[in-house]
């Protein structure tokens, strides 16, 4: 039965809650860039090098999870009609804990100090658990249970499992507990983080956003219903097979086959999304669409690269295989889509909050800038090309670190700096207009 009393369609959190996440993320990108600029080819020696572990977490936690959590706190009332309880407190503490926790984690990787590792785990653990709890409560109260909300629930469960696996792996890394096969545990953590948390969130959000904003046909019902579950269940089976409970020769082959199902699911999704986008009714140039298509092409490309590694041992055994795959997925796929989405969410929230305020004050004299006046197409496009070049150079750096690591770092810093500037300019315009709408100040015209 639908409960009319609990339905809330208001944009719940104040603008400062999502914005603190969005404006912090590019800073982690910039710091990552400076680390590579300073250390050059060193991080690319192996995916297990402390620097590479640190860089990976700066991006996945400091940038991507940062933006994804901030966006979820914002979007749940719209997508699910269910506001996140205590959103200001949860949002503010998650933000602080995620910043401190990520920095401590990177420091712990670099120094190997158990105490710093424990601090990092407590900060990240408390922050993300509070987030997961609040979001789960909101999802339990949910009025509608479409494919997007269903997929988001799976993504949040995957985040919890990623956190758990990562925490155990980190305790092993810091020597606090003894773990017999740390590499397998780390792989499970990585698989659940990338394919579970980030991948499932990407898929379920796409089901909603791709048809709506580009005016494309819908994803077919069977894709919406089965794909997230298929990936989630396959990842669970993969985890069980890899956990070492059963020891037999055929187990690793079976695990590989199950992982293939996951990769097949993502390939299907990427091709389907590209197909839908090519049939879009809305033909005007759109920078977010550029980012999104790049991400989808690289998702299919990464899947193909992984498969070639499975089929051809020389590819798999190349020193750069895992790092190139990681760069493809993190920087190429998830970062592209997240970066592109910021250009829709941030200008829209600026406009939306200002217009709400204008209507409440009935102050129609002030002209509210439209979305493209908060971030211009030119500025966003320029950043897209920087992002693309940074990705291409990073991919080259995975293969030839000595030549390409520093140029890649410079481009990556430039791309993140421009993103930060674009977002700050939007916030600046928001503030300037907000002041005009202030009934008490001298500047105001109300």
């Amino acid at each position: 039965m639908l409960n009319t009393a609990s339905l809330s369609l208001e944009q719940a959190p104040p603008i400062s809650i999502p914005f603190r996440f969005f404006l912090t993320a590019p800073l982690f990108g910039i710091v990552s860039g400076f680390l590579v600029l300073f250390y050059g080819e060193t991080p690319f020696v192996s995916r297990w090098s402390p620097l590479m572990l640190g860089l990976t977490h700066m991006m996945t936690l400091g940038f991507l999870t940062m933006v994804m959590c901030g966006a979820m706190l914002q979007m749940l009332p719209v997508i699910a009609g269910s506001p996140v309880p205590h959103v200001v407190m949860v949002g503010a503490s998650l933000h602080v804990l995620l910043v401190l926790g990520t920095l401590a984690l990177v420091l712990a990787f670099l120094t190997g100090t158990p105490l710093i590792m424990l601090i990092a785990l407590v900060a990240i653990g408390v922050g993300l658990c509070a987030f997961i709890a609040a979001v789960t409560i909101a999802q339990l109260r949910v009025i509608s249970s479409g494919a997007t909300v269903g997929g988001m629930k799976l993504a949040v469960s995957a985040l919890l499992l990623t956190l758990l696996l990562g925490s155990i792996a980190a305790l092993g890394y810091a020597g606090i507990i003894r773990i017999p096969n740390l590499a397998i545990l780390a792989d499970a953590h990585l698989g659940w983080g990338l394919l579970g948390w980030m991948g499932l969130l990407l898929i379920s959000v796409s089901f909603q956003l791709v048809p709506m904003f580009q005016v494309t046909p819908e994803y077919p019902d069977w894709v919406k219903r089965f794909l997230p579950w298929m990936i989630f269940v396959a990842l669970l089976i993969w985890l069980l097979l890899r956990s070492g409970w059963i020891v037999a020769a055929w187990i690793s082959l079976l695990a590989l086959l199950v992982l293939m199902v996951v990769v097949f699911g993502f390939t299907l999704f990427s091709i389907y999304t590209l197909l839908l986008q090519s049939r879009r009714k809305r033909r005007v140039p759109d920078v977010t669409l550029l980012f999104w298509r790049l991400g989808m092409i690289l998702l299919a490309g990464s899947a193909l690269f992984w498969l070639s590694g499975v089929l051809f041992p020389p590819v798999r055994e190349a020193q750069y295989f895992s790092i190139l795959l990681g760069i493809g997925l993190v920087q190429g796929v998830v970062l592209s889509v997240v970066n592109g989405m910021l250009y829709k969410i941030v200008p829209f929230l600026c406009w939306f909050h200002l217009q709400n305020r204008q209507m409440n004050l009935m102050c129609m004299m002030v002209r509210i800038p439209n979305m493209k006046e908060f971030v211009t197409d030119r500025a966003a496009k320029r950043q897209f090309y920087l992002h693309l070049s940074a990705f291409l150079f990073s991919a080259a750096a995975a293969v030839m670190p000595l030549w390409f690591s520093r140029p890649a770092a410079l481009l990556f810093i430039a791309s993140n700096l421009l993103l930060l500037i674009n977002l700050f300019l939007a916030v600046g315009r928001f503030r300037a207009t907000f002041r005009l709408l202030e009934p008490t100040t001298q500047e105001s015209v109300c």
């Binding site: 369609l9 208001e10 699910a80 033909r283 439209n370």
Partner: protein, 144 residues
């Protein structure tokens, strides 16, 4: 049987398509056809608002016996969209495509998040609460 969700969601899609036509034409600076397509989109949207504000929302609120917060928010968002529509009308009159495209992008965002709330929550809720009466209103809207 006609339901509110099927009829109204189909009307959302119809408005989206006219919106896209108008935007595509304006982006090529075809003001003759673009102006006509914009007018068609504006009329279709205002008609959709009227169906909700004059028929659906009052019937629903009468049934549950009080004015409802979420319905109020839908009305407020309609007003936000009306304001954008009138700014777009000015942009068409001024032949200002940059301004039109900035406004249409903004309108598209608010329309879609508004539609999301209606299609995922409000319409299904109305269908279940109003039952037969809801189906009748939907049928009337459909045939009008």
């Amino acid at each position: 049987m006609a339901t509110i969700i099927t009829i109204m969601a189909a009307d959302h899609r119809r408005c989206d398509e006219i919106f896209s036509d108008a935007e595509n034409l304006v982006s090529t600076k075809d003001w003759g056809e673009g102006g006509k397509a914009f007018a068609a989109f504006r009329d279709a949207t205002l008609n959709h608002f009227a169906m909700e504000e004059e028929r659906l929302f009052p019937a629903f609120e009468q049934h549950i016996g009080h004015a409802m917060g979420p319905v109020q928010i839908m009305r407020m968002e309609h007003n936000q969209m009306r304001q954008l529509l009138s700014e777009m009308e000015q942009a068409v009159a001024d032949r200002d495509d940059t301004r039109y495209l900035g406004l249409s992008e903004t309108l598209m965002m608010i329309i879609q998040q508004h539609n999301m709330k209606e299609e995922q929550m409000l319409y299904p809720m109305m269908d279940r609460t109003l039952g037969e009466a809801g189906a009748e209103i939907a049928q009337e809207i459909h045939s009008s």
